[in-house]
Amino acid sequence: MAVADNNIMQGAGGRLALLRRAEPVAIPVLALVAGLGVFGLFLLTQGRSPLAFMAYVWQGGFGSAFSWQNTLSRAAPLLMAALCVALPARLGLVVIGGEGAIVLGGVAAGALALPLAAAPGAAAVPLMALAAMVTGGLWIGAAGALRHYRGVNETISSLLLSYIAIALMNHLVEGPLRDPASLNKPSTAPLAEALHIGDLPGMTVHWGLAFGILACLLSWVLVEWTTWGFAARIAGGNVRAAQVQGLPVGRLMVGFSALGGAFAGLAGYFEVAAVHGSANASLAAGYGYTGILIAFLARHNALAIIPVAILLAGFDASSGLVQRRMDLPDATMQVLQGIVFMAILMSDAAYGRLPFLKAKG
């Protein structure tokens, strides 16, 4: 009996290998569908049609060139916010404070608007982006450092840091960095025309999208194809084993957290330089929190973040249309995100257990 089983396993080897590769894609997709199904039931209890909901999401997020551009513009910060979760996750860290890095990155860029007003754009633009990345990197890198050197749980510390960042932004934007001309909405000084970031050629989507995708590609190469990424994955699997091997676990933790934070800071930079034109409270738009969901949906794979972020950005972009046409509160999308997130996390229990993903034997 055992021998027969063994033979079948070998005979089905190719099929089994294929199934092994299919599982990490199939399970999140099934979980997403299941989550949407539960949300559909929720809509039914509210007397709303789930099919109409999906139709409006399609129309508002992906149905026309206009909605695609809206979706892709929103995808830009989400790509970078998701990396802020996915990169530290390779070391087993659950960082949820990306919102703080986005906000402070944006403020750092906005703070340079006045000193760089007269500087040539070619020098000033990279300087502002760099300032945003360094600020975001320090913020999340601190959570990684606290985890390694002080044993402070990074989930709680990063979220506390995020609340502190938002308070700091409010303080700076209403006080020391406030442009006296900004009356009812306190903002930093508006960026000089030369410092604005325009759209990608032939589209009305700003350059943040290209940099977001580039960041995902670079992160993927880093994690999958470099020794640092390999070391990080070992440390994420088993910290003790990594330490025994002499891997610099502390530096990896701080480095991966800081890199994730730097990308989130860059998202803040693009929000300032390409969307708002100055730093103000609209920087805290919740991209950091949607980024958490995207990273988990993508199973912390930087390449998978790209389609998932575009999907979630489409939901985001359509939310105004859905609310108006179906007379739903603006928290509807948050309920949807919560349910989908729960479904994704519950699907962790399904790995290796789905009957149709097993070789017949």
């Binding site: 002080r150 749980n153 502190i164 308070a167 006080g175 928290a331 919560g338 996390l345 519950m346």
Partner: protein, 307 residues
């Protein structure tokens, strides 16, 4: 008598604020202590707090009874805790990540169903005017103590006793310290953890009802701003002791009251920085009390967050 207290108004307002602001933090941290003592962490209590605030307020509006509101908030919290507990009993499911998802879902549901209740006014929970002896309105205001605060103190003492001296308390501690030892005793760890998570959720729900029914005493979407999460962090500071939770909650309530107190005497500079004080204090306390090398004293052995 002169009603102008000058700078003395600041410590008085901080004490009064500590008593007023600490109650939700106290209830959430008591609930989280129970949950963490069973070996599980529930980061979703921030969502439970907001959900408790909404259900409590909505019930009080509809029944005209604030106590019915507290009861429904406790039930909603227990239900949410139950869901968290059941999901975390599944294999390979990460309790910290589930907590983040529950936080998102709880606030989402509260905002979704709470929309129609932003306008109507609910009856407030009663307060005990312990400052009635004083002719100073500031003293009277500071010592106006809500019944739920008193209940919270009693609950903290009762929980401390129950954990130390009763059979359910012992069972909870065994399950929290070693799953294997609990199994050897014929206990069902998953079941007990789920019950502890549900009970912890009920505490957090009551904390939420206090927010919407007493202080600040209205329902809106910015009602919690991370207090539930701070309470979860505070449990580490309080070393999983219910009585320490009381002191920690008072300390953090006072920190939260500092900004408004200074503003009331005319110090408006850096208002937002004072607003950040409780978060900075929580983070500082976490850094000071954590250690990279050894388990924290008093930490339940099965708790993932301290490993």
């Amino acid at each position: 008598m002169d009603n102008n207290l000058g700078l003395w108004a600041v410590p008085l307002a901080v004490i009064g604020g500590a008593i007023r602001v600490s109650t939700p933090i106290l209830f959430v941290s008591l609930g989280e202590t129970l949950t963490e003592r069973s070996g599980r962490i529930n980061l979703g209590l921030e969502g439970t707090l907001v959900l408790g605030a909404m259900t409590g307020y909505a019930t009080a509006v509809m029944t005209a009874s604030p106590w019915a509101g507290v009861l429904v908030a406790a039930l909603a919290g227990a239900l949410f805790g139950l869901v968290h507990g059941l999901i975390c009993s599944m294999p390979r499911v990460n309790d910290i990540a589930i907590g983040i998802a529950m936080m998102l879902l709880g606030t989402g549901l509260a905002f979704y169903f709470g929309k129609p209740f932003i306008q109507p006014a609910a009856p407030d929970l009663p307060a005990i005017p312990l400052g009635g002896w004083s002719s100073l309105p500031q003293v009277q205001a500071a010592l106006n103590i809500n019944v739920l605060f008193v209940i919270g103190i009693i609950a903290a003492l009762a929980l401390a006793w129950a954990l130390r001296a009763t059979r359910p308390g012992l069972i909870l501690r065994v399950v929290g310290d070693s799953t294997d030892a609990a199994r050897a005793l014929g206990l069902n760890p998953a079941l007990i953890r789920t019950a502890a998570t549900a009970l912890g959720g009920a505490f957090a729900g009551v904390g939420g009802a206090y927010l919407s029914l007493y202080y600040p005493g209205s329902w809106n979407e910015g009602i919690s701003s991370g207090q539930g999460l701070m309470a979860v962090a505070l449990v580490i500071f309080a070393r999983w002791s219910p009585v320490n939770c009381l002191w920690a909650a008072l300390l953090f309530g006072g920190a939260g009251a500092l900004g408004p107190a200074l503003q009331s005497v005319g110090v408006t500079q850096g208002y937002y920085l004072f607003y950040a004080a409780p978060y900075v204090l929580t983070l500082g306390v976490l850094i000071a009390t954590s250690s990279p090398s050894r388990a924290l004293s008093g930490a339940p052995g099965e708790l993932s967050i301290t490993k």
